[in-house]
Amino acid sequence: MKFDVVVIGAGLVGSAIAQEFTARGQSVCIVEKSNDVGNGTSKANTAIWHTGFDAVPGSLESKLVGRGYFLLENYAKQAGIPIVKTGAVLVAWDEEQLASLDGLADKAHKNGYEKTKGLSQSEVRNLEPNLSESALGGLLVPDEGIVCTWTTNLAYATTAVQAGATLYLNTKVVGVNSVPDGMEIQTDTHQTITGSLVVNAAGLYSDDIHRMFGHQTFSVTPRKGQLIVFDKLARNLVNHIILPVPSSKGKGVLISPTVYGNVILGPTAEDQTDKTDTSTTQAGFEFLLAKGQAMLPGLVTNEVTATYAGLRAATEHSDYQITFHLDQKYICVGGIRSTGLTSALAIAEYVAEQLFIAGHPIGERADILPAPMPNIGEDFVRPYQDEVAIAKNPSFGEVICHCERVTIGELDQAFDSTIPPCTLEGLRRRTRATMGRCQGFYCGAEVAQRLTEAKK
C-alpha cells in the first residue's frame, strides 16, 4: 500500500496530524499498534485544557500550547467535545510558594497570557470555600479548563477516517526501509506500507521509532502519574482546577473537576523504565490521599469511583522534539507531554506549515469539518435528558448504565460509529458505560453482552 503520508501512532498528536493532511487532500494512513485510537498516553492524563501560562517562555511548547488553546476551543465547539472553562487557581500552601506567585504571573506574561490575577488568602477562600485553612494565597488563571481527552482523540481520528484516511489498528511498526519514492514501513502484521512522508507520533515509543530512522537525539523516560477519581457527590466541593505551585518540594498534585462531573486528585510523578507499566500502587494512593486531605479535607471522605495511572512521554529535553528529516522523508513529533492534549491541533498545523516552508508539496488546506461527536459531558445535554432525541429514537430513553446515565441508544451509536470500540474499555471511553460508582455491579454483564453481540 502506498500513501502520501503515513502517521505512526493514533494518539491525539498522530490523529490530529492525520486529520490535517487529509484536509490537505493527501492520502493518509495511520498505523497504530494497539486495538484502539487514543489508547496510550492520550487516554490517561489529567484532561486539562491549558492556556500555556506556565510553559517555558520562548519554547516551541509555549507557542503551540498557546495557539492550540484557541484551536481546540473552536474545534471542540464544532465537534461537540465536552469542554468547560472552569478557570484554575494556583494555591500557595507555604511561604516559599506564596513568594513564587509573582514570578509565575510574570512567566504567564512572557508566554503571552495576560489575564492572571493574584489572590489574597480571603480571595482564595471566597473562590474555593472548601479548601483547607492553610491556603495562604493564590493566582487565578481564568481561562484554564477541562476537556474530554477521549472524545477529542476520537474526533480527530474519526474526522481523518471520514475524510479518507486509512486506519490500521493492532499494527506495530517493526522496521523502516528507504525506497526510491519514500519510506517503507514494516509491520508485525507483515504489511508493507509505503509513505512519501512518514510522521512519527508514537508517544511513549517515539524514541524507538526515531532510532529506526537512525536518530538518537532523545529518549523517553515514562513518568507515571497515578490519579484517584472521586464520586460525583464530591463535585460541588471545587469550582476551579486547584493547581499546585511548583516549588523545591516538587511539582505537587492537583485537584480538578472532570467533564463527567467527578473530581480527580493527582498525579504522582514517578520516573520508570517500563513503557507498559501503568499499575497503581498502595504507596501512590497513600501519597495522594494525604495530599488531598491537606488541600481539600472534604474530598477524601468521598467514595472513590476509579483509580488509574498514565505515563507521560517525558524526555531529557524540556521542549517538544519536533524535527524534520526531509532527506529521509521523515518527521519526528516526539516528546509531547501532557500539554499535547491542548496543543495537538497546533502541532499538526505547525508540521504542515514547516513542510510548506521547506517546499514539500502538501496541498491546499480545506476547512476541517469535525465529525460530530456524541456528548458524554455533564455540562451539555446528555441523550437521557434530550426529549427530542428520545422521540426520534426511543433507545435514547433506555438507561442501561445508571450511575453514568448511559442509554442503549448511545451504545448502539458507538457500535455503529466510524471507529467502533472493540473492547469494553474502548466502549467506556466512548460512552462512559460502567465507568461510574458501581463499576458494573448493575449493568456490567449486559454491557459486555451487548459489546460481544455488536462485534459479531
Binding site: T278, Q282, F285, T307, R405, G444, A445
Partner: protein, 409 residues
C-alpha cells in the same frame, strides 16, 4: 405537566414491591413503582440459590422465583410497575423527573418510598492497587454474567470476602466451572454460617486465607494474579484469571442525597425513625438502602412498615412527637433505624439492625439513655452480617432523656 401520583415507590426489589403491595392493601389508590431495570424483582433475580422468602412469605424458594412471586403479588393488588423507568432528578420541592422510552416525565407524588437498595463496593472504591484489567467482578455483576448473560468468566478465581454473599459468589463460580483457588478475608475467620462454610469447604475444597488482604490485582490485558498480604506483612502471589470482590456494602443513596434528605453516616442511607420516615415528612425508606445489607426477606418486611407510615401520612394521621436519636459506639458502625419517635410503636420485625466491621470482644449489647440502662441483650456479632437487637425497650425511652447509646457491655 407533572403527573400526580398518590405514592411513588422507587425501586422494584423486595422492599419496594412489598411496600407497593402493602400500600394497595391499605387502600391507597394510585401506586406507581419506578424501576430502572428492564425487569422488576431486584437483586434476587440473579441469585439462583434457595433461601428466599422465609420470613415474609413463609416459603423456601430460590431468588428468581421469589422475585417473580413479589412482582405478581404487587401487580395483582393493582400496583403499576414502570420498567426501564429511571428517576434522574428530585427537586427539593418534591418534583421528580424520570427518563424512559417515552421521553422525560415529571411526577409529583404525595409520598415517596425510597427502596433503591444497596450494592457491593467495587475494586477501585476499596483502593486495591495494580492494573485495570478484565476479569474483575463484584458478586452482583458475576451473577448476572453467569446466569443472565451466560458470558465466559474464566478458569481460576480468587474470592475476596468470606461472608454470606461470598459463598453465594462461590456457588455461582462453581456453576460457571470456575475453580476457586482462594477465599480471602481480613478477619481471623469466615463470617457466614458454619454450615455454609463446611459445605463449601467439603464440596469445592476452597482454601480460606484469613487475616489476609488483597494488595494488588496484576495483569496486562486480563487478570493474571493477585498479590496478597498476611497479617505478618508477608506478600504472596496467587495465579488466577478472575477476582470477585464480595460484600463491603454501600447503600444506593444518590437519589436520597439529591432530594436533600438527611443521611446517616454509618449506613450511608437515609436517617429514619422506627416508622421508617426520613427527615422529610412525606418521604419514607425501606430495605437495604437503610441497612446494607440484610437478607431479602428482612428488607421486604420493611416495606410493610414504610407503607403503613406512608398511608398514615396520606390520610393525615401521621404521628408527631418527640424524637430521640440513637448513637452507636465502636465496634458498632451503625444501627438502623437511628431515631425513636416516642410513643409510636415498633420498628420492622420488632428489632433494630446492628452492624460491626470487626469481631468484637464481647457479645453483650447494652442500650443506654443517659445513665439509665434501658436494655441489654447477648447477640452473635459477626462482621458483614447484621445482628438483630430486640426493640421492646423503646417504650421506656424518656422523650427528654437525651440521645440513646448502643454499646458493648
Amino acid at each position: 405537566m407533572a403527573e400526580n401520583v398518590d405514592a411513588l415507590v422507587i425501586g422494584a426489589g423486595p422492599a419496594g414491591l412489598t411496600a407497593a403491595w402493602a400500600l394497595k392493601n391499605l387502600g391507597i389508590e394510585n401506586v406507581l413503582v419506578a424501576e430502572r431495570e428492564a425487569v422488576a424483582g431486584g437483586i434476587p433475580r440473579h441469585s439462583h440459590h434457595p433461601g428466599y422468602g422465609i420470613r415474609d412469605l413463609h416459603r423456601f424458594m430460590n431468588g428468581p422465583s421469589y422475585a417473580k412471586t413479589l412482582v405478581t403479588r404487587a401487580k395483582d393488588a393493582g400496583v403499576r410497575i414502570a420498567n426501564n423507568f429511571s428517576v434522574t432528578d428530585w427537586e427539593q420541592d418534591g418534583l421528580i423527573t424520570a427518563t424512559s422510552k417515552n421521553g422525560r416525565q415529571l411526577l409529583m407524588p404525595q409520598v415517596v418510598i425510597l427502596a433503591t437498595g444497596a450494592r457491593e463496593r467495587p475494586r477501585p472504591a476499596r483502593l486495591v492497587a495494580g492494573n485495570r484489567v478484565r476479569g474483575i467482578y463484584t458478586t452482583g455483576e458475576l451473577q448476572q454474567a453467569v446466569y443472565e448473560r451466560k458470558l465466559p468468566i474464566g478458569t481460576r478465581a480468587v474470592v475476596v470476602g468470606a461472608e454470606h454473599v461470598s459463598f453465594s459468589a462461590l456457588m455461582t463460580l462453581n456453576h460457571a466451572d470456575v475453580k476457586v483457588v482462594a477465599m480471602v478475608t481480613e478477619h481471623h475467620k469466615h463470617q457466614s454460617y458454619p454450615a455454609f462454610y463446611f459445605g463449601a469447604k467439603v464440596r469445592y475444597q476452597v482454601p480460606l486465607r484469613t487475616t489476609t488482604s488483597v494488595v494488588s490485582v496484576n495483569g496486562t490485558d486480563r487478570v493474571e494474579s493477585v498479590t496478597l498480604r498476611d497479617n505478618g506483612g508477608n506478600e504472596s502471589n496467587v495465579e488466577c484469571d478472575v477476582v470477585v470482590f464480595t460484600g463491603n456494602w454501600i447503600a444506593d443513596y444518590e437519589l436520597a442525597q439529591r432530594s436533600g434528605i438527611t443521611r446517616d453516616s454509618g449506613t450511608t442511607g437515609p436517617l429514619v425513625n422506627q416508622l421508617l420516615r426520613t427527615s422529610q415528612p412525606n418521604v419514607f425508606a425501606a430495605g437495604n438502602i437503610l441497612h446494607p445489607v440484610t437478607t431479602a426477606d428482612v428488607a421486604a418486611l420493611d416495606g410493610v412498615i414504610a407503607a403503613r407510615s406512608a398511608a398514615e401520612y396520606l390520610t393525615g394521621r401521621s404521628l408527631l412527637g418527640n424524637t430521640v436519636s440513637i448513637n452507636v459506639a465502636p465496634p458498632f458502625t451503625w444501627v438502623s433505624p437511628q431515631q425513636v419517635l416516642v410513643g409510636a410503636g415498633m420498628p420492622p420485625r420488632n428489632c433494630f439492625q446492628l452492624w460491626v466491621t470487626e469481631f468484637p470482644s464481647s457479645s453483650l449489647v447494652v442500650v443506654q439513655q443517659g445513665t439509665q440502662t434501658l436494655f441489654s441483650q447477648r447477640l452473635r456479632l459477626v462482621p458483614g452480617r447484621p445482628a438483630e437487637l430486640k426493640s421492646d425497650w423503646i417504650s421506656s425511652v424518656d422523650p427528654a432523656g437525651g440521645p440513646i447509646q448502643i454499646r458493648l457491655g
